[in-house]
């Protein structure tokens, strides 16, 4: 178990490292010069050269990369070229917001998706099954940013119930206790609903398929033959066994969920890693892009390993046995 975990962690580190190298190469291969963007169109060649020198952009790529890795490892993530802020501070402020949004929506969409999928499988072929199927395929097909816009249209513009952007109101600093919590929750509502809704479809589809497979197995027949209630057969015997692939899916869907969060954060101006990444990419803000990519890759890899451990916990047969 521990050896396997060690292996996974090593592989994860390799992936993160690969992402970082790839990002580094892409950034430097791409047209567009951050120094020119920084100094504006009126900068003289001498000024540009001086600034380039000051930022260390004149040195060989390998040397720049080695320096970056060394500094990153020591916790010195550099200064944002566009904003002048410490990159580390920028990301330290941002990642809890992303984890909060992604984590909550992960829990909600899996809970709801599993319930919907189980109900469908239990009543396979019925009208309920068809209705939920249509619903889940539609949700599955919905782009998050568009669903977000529609929710904003309905709940912000028409009903005027919920705020459309940010994680807290302008007066958040003066609120305390209940008012503070309500303010936070109201801001969380729309992005969380969007991300959860688009997640449900995929989960429900998957759970339905996995449940149907399990329901055809002999031990289900024998459970029914023992005289167990249908509720117990479905809830205890079928669902438990159908959940193993679902947990694996959880790990696999993390990158997708994180990707979805990038768009959702952009739509709702949610102050997370995704928004910082989008802004930094558009401004060619090298240090921020590098660090934000590394952090998002880390989050995804960590999530994958966590899901792997979870799968072993749900299904003891998988502990240590799985090699691929």
């Amino acid at each position: 178990m521990l050896a396997r975990l060690g292996q996974r962690v090593l592989a994860g580190i390799a992936v993160v490292f690969g992402v970082v190298i790839l990002t580094f190469l892409l950034l430097h291969a791409a047209p567009g010069d951050p120094v020119r963007l920084l100094l504006g169109p009126n900068a003289t060649d001498a000024q540009i050269a001086a600034q380039r020198d000051a930022l260390g952009l004149n040195r060989p790529l390998a040397a720049q990369f080695a320096t970056w890795v060394g500094r990153f490892g020591r916790g010195d993530w550099g200064t944002s070229i566009a904003k002048g802020q410490q990159v580390r501070q920028l990301l330290a402020d941002a990642w809890p917001a992303t984890v909060r949004l992604v984590g909550l929506s992960l829990i909600l969409s899996y809970l709801l998706g599993i319930v919907l999928g189980a109900v469908q499988a239990a009543r396979s072929g019925s009208r309920t099954d068809t209705v939920i199927s249509v619903l889940s395929v539609t949700l599955f097909a919905m782009p998050g940013y568009w669903l977000g816009l529609m929710l904003v249209l309905v709940f912000t513009y028409w009903a005027r119930w919920l705020p459309a952007f940010g994680a807290a109101g302008f007066d958040a600093d003066y609120l305390s206790g209940r008012a503070w919590l309500v303010d936070r929750l109201r801001h969380l509502a729309l992005p969380l609903a969007t991300l959860t809704l688009i997640g449900i479809g995929g989960v429900a589809r998957f759970v339905r398929g996995s449940m149907l497979e399990v329901l055809h197995q002999p031990f289900i027949t024998s459970a029914r033959a023992k005289g167990l209630t249908e509720r117990r057969v479905i809830g205890h015997h079928a669902l438990r066994n159908a959940l193993t692939p679902v947990v694996t899916l959880l790990g696999l869907s993390l990158p997708a969920l994180f990707s979805g969060a990038v768009f959702i954060e952009a739509v709702f101006a949610w102050p997370g890693v995704g928004r910082i990444l989008v802004e930094a990419v558009q401004a060619r803000d090298y240090p921020v892009v590098m660090a934000a990519t590394a952090v998002s890759a880390l989050l995804v890899v960590a999530g994958n390993i966590l899901a792997d451990l979870l799968a072993g916990w749900v299904d003891p047969r998988l502990r240590g046995a799985r090699s691929a």
Partner: protein
């Protein structure tokens, strides 16, 4: 084919895609043919759906903030979205089949290397990569196709790898070798054609997904650039006028959902028809 159409999902998906395709191909006939046409902006902007402007032109889906006909832009946008979706998926299928087949047929270091590469690419956060690629180079339709194609081949490679490995051990493949066929020929003529069934299904599902990603990139301003209409940049421009003219954002979104649903249902139906043993 008949079995596919007898499946309700298959029939629906097929019908929707045919209608969209016909509209897209016949764009100059079913619309006014000028997606970027602006007349008197003040008089014709933000007309609600089903209205007729002062020039007597009818706007079934209304007009946007520049007075352009939303229906016309929607149909011309379908051309872009479908083109990007189909071509990008073809690129990923070609790459995926190549990598998967080689890795599945030739064991040893080549296979290990290719599979390692696939797993690595699969673990990369795709959208982060898309953002980087699209933002760092000049955004264009071709770039979007290349980027989406290059980041979508991994699951196909995995599928093909598994199929090829099991097919290569079958008697017919060994028989072909025994008859003196070269290995490359056996792979290309005997094994790959037999491994394509799951690839077709994955491609059908992938087209929907790719269209969605294209729209996402265009929505962020990193994909197809205005004034060329694409569903993504139409939604983005609709975002700014959500209060005055919600139809500008609603129409392309609904079209997108419809097409992606159609692709998904068609893919599901295809899987059941092509591979009855898989069950549901």
């Amino acid at each position: 084919m008949t079995r596919l159409l007898r499946d309700r999902r298959g029939a629906f998906g097929f019908l929707v895609l045919v209608v969209v395709l016909v509209c897209a191909l016949g764009a100059p006939i079913v619309t006014n043919g000028r997606p970027n046409e602006q007349r008197d902006i003040v008089a014709t902007r933000f007309l609600p759906p089903l209205s007729t402007d002062a020039n007597g032109a009818f706007h079934p889906l209304g007009t946007d903030r520049f007075g352009r006909d939303v229906w016309t832009r929607l149909v011309y946008g379908a051309r872009v979205s479908l083109l990007v979706g189909v071509v990008a998926v073809l690129v990923s299928v070609a790459l995926g089949v190549m990598v998967g087949a080689v890795a599945g047929y030739w064991r040893g270091p080549v296979s290990v290397l290719l599979l390692g590469l696939t797993d690595f690419a699969l673990a990369l956060p795709r959208v982060v990569l898309l953002l980087l690629l699209a933002a760092l180079w000049q955004p264009s339709t071709v770039l979007v196709i290349v980027v989406l194609g290059l980041t979508g081949w991994m699951s196909i490679a995995r599928l093909v790898h598994g199929e090829v490995r099991s097919l290569a051990a079958r008697p017919f493949a060994e028989g072909a070798i025994a008859l003196g066929a070269r290995r490359l020929r056996v792979l290309a003529r005997h094994i790959i054609p037999n491994a394509l069934t799951p690839v077709i299904v994955a491609a059908a599902l992938g087209i929907g997904n790719t269209i969605m990603l294209e729209a996402g990139l265009s929505y962020l301003g990193l994909g197809v650039q205005p004034p060329t209409p694409s569903w993504g940049n139409m939604m983005a421009s609709g975002r700014d006028t959500l209060v005055n003219a919600p139809w500008v954002a609603v129409a392309p979104g609904l079209a997108l959902v419809l097409v992606v649903v159609a692709c998904t249902l068609l893919g599901d139906a295809l899987r059941d028809v092509l591979d009855p043993s898989a069950g549901r």
